[in-house]
């Protein structure tokens, strides 16, 4: 069976990627192939990497508070480059109040620090196999 390919990226300027690494390991342990791209990626770099890597889904992690501009920008660029079927989810320190706006902008799920890793794995599996 073909493994699910996930790009994990950290847009924005904050320098912490522990959360993204913990999620990456959980996804690997669930049999997925996780392309980890490191810190401080611009939305353009994230989208270009996602296209080169032919991923099914992108996970964005942001702690800097810039999620409201950076996350939707990724979705927008994917569409502009004809890769709109690549799904996007987000995580990090994101206020409840911002979530509806992000969902409306095409971020299909937003995981806040309380979310279990299992929940994230299940979301990705269902989202990707349901395509």
């Amino acid at each position: 069976m073909a493994p699910i390919r996930v790009l994990m990226a950290k847009p924005g300027l904050d320098g912490h990627d522990r959360g993204a690494k913990v999620v990456s390991r959980a996804l690997r342990d669930a049999g997925m192939e996780v392309i980890y791209t490191g810190l401080r990626q611009s939305p353009e770099q994230i989208v270009q990497a996602a296209i080169q890597e032919d991923v099914d889904i992108i996970g964005l992690s942001c702690l800097s508070g810039a999620h409201n501009s950076l996350f939707p920008k990724v979705v927008e660029l994917l569409k502009a480059r004809g890769a709109g079927e690549i799904a996007v989810f987000g995580g990090g320190v994101i206020p409840e109040a911002d979530i509806p706006g992000l969902r409306a902008a095409g971020i299909e799920a937003v995981f806040t620090p309380g979310t279990s890793l299992e929940e994230i794995v299940t979301f990705i599996r269902e989202r990707v196999s349901g395509q």
Partner: protein, 303 residues
């Protein structure tokens, strides 16, 4: 628009990697003898700076040429999943329109690359690159497969990785077309240099394996390394060696495809035969197995 052809290539690679029969057949119809593409393999211990070095090589080459990089990391033996992290060292190259970078899992294969790597090479080659760089897993001693796949194999060593003699003993040095001491900014580089110099003086039909020193993190020694990479390329062509190298790659491809196809049979045929025969009422398998045996012979054939 770069994203368009990159997307097509990316999707083709995924299908080949997943052993999609049609994609494999399509890849198999593409030539491997293109002599305007140099395939450069980079192997060496984990953490030796292979990705950093590849990043420098790609950046330098991409100023004038189209460069593809295949970066292989190991899969987890428990889940089959993988974390592919080589791109971290290559962030600056992502938006370069001359560069295509693809991370690959070794999908459980020993030897530093996956089974489908040569089929992937055919697809990448036909996409019109001048250079294809392959970074192997970096498990050390068992990484010799890259030498059958690449035209030019770089073996990276680093100072103070335990015993300098270890590198010499492991046998990995023997596959080198070019030896690279990376992290030449660290102490211990002199004794490593002395230990490696002997291997480096080995002549192979007119090719003397050069010994280069680099500090990949700072981009030092890259130009000299590129000169040696080009020297090796010239030698391969002048000595008529290039097609021999590519034949080795095709041989690797045939062996790997055979193994994968055979494994598919092994996964399926015995289960089918068991399902058909285990609870038969008309014969007692404990008394005679000859019918089942001839069924197996029919399915697998005699070799």
């Amino acid at each position: 628009m770069t994203s368009c052809w990159q997307r097509q290539l990316a999707k083709a690679i995924t299908k080949i990697e997943n052993m999609d029969p049609q994609a494999l057949a399509e890849a198999a119809s593409l030539p491997l003898d293109n002599s305007s593409v140099q395939i450069i393999g980079v192997t060496g211990p984990p953490g030796g700076g292979k990705s950093t070095l590849c990043s420098q090589l790609i950046e330098a080459l991409a100023s004038k040429h189209k460069v593809a990089a295949l970066l292989v990391d190991p899969s987890s033996p428990f889940s089959g999943g993988a974390i592919l992290g080589d791109r971290i060292r290559m962030q600056a190259l992502v938006s370069n329109p001359n560069v295509y970078i693809r991370s690959l899992s070794n999908r459980g294969n020993a030897g530093g690359v996956g089974s489908s790597v040569v089929s992937i090479l055919r697809a990448v080659m036909s996409a019109g690159f001048d250079y294809i760089i392959i970074e192997t897993v970096g498990a050390g001693q068992s990484e010799v497969k890259i030498a059958s796949i690449a035209d030019t194999t770089l073996v990276v060593s680093v100072p103070n990785l335990g015993d300098d003699i270890q590198a010499v003993k492991s046998g990995i040095l023997e596959i080198a077309d070019i030896l690279v001491i990376n992290k030449a900014d660290l102490p211990g580089v002199d004794s490593l240099y002395i230990a490696l110099r002997e291997s480096a003086q080995k002549h192979v039909d007119g090719w003397t394996v050069p010994l280069c020193q680099t500090v990949a993190l700072e981009g030092l020694g890259i130009d000299a390394l590129l000169v040696e990479i080009d020297n090796h390329w010239q030698w391969l062509q002048q000595a008529g060696r290039l097609l021999e190298k590519r034949k080795l790659a095709a041989k690797f491809e045939i062996m790997e495809l055979s193994r994968v196809l055979l494994q598919k049979h092994l996964d399926k045929v015995p289960a089918d035969v068991l399902a058909r025969n285990l609870n038969r009422k008309d014969i007692n398998l404990l008394q005679r197995l000859d019918e089942v045996y001839s069924e197996l012979l029919n399915l697998f054939g005699e070799v």
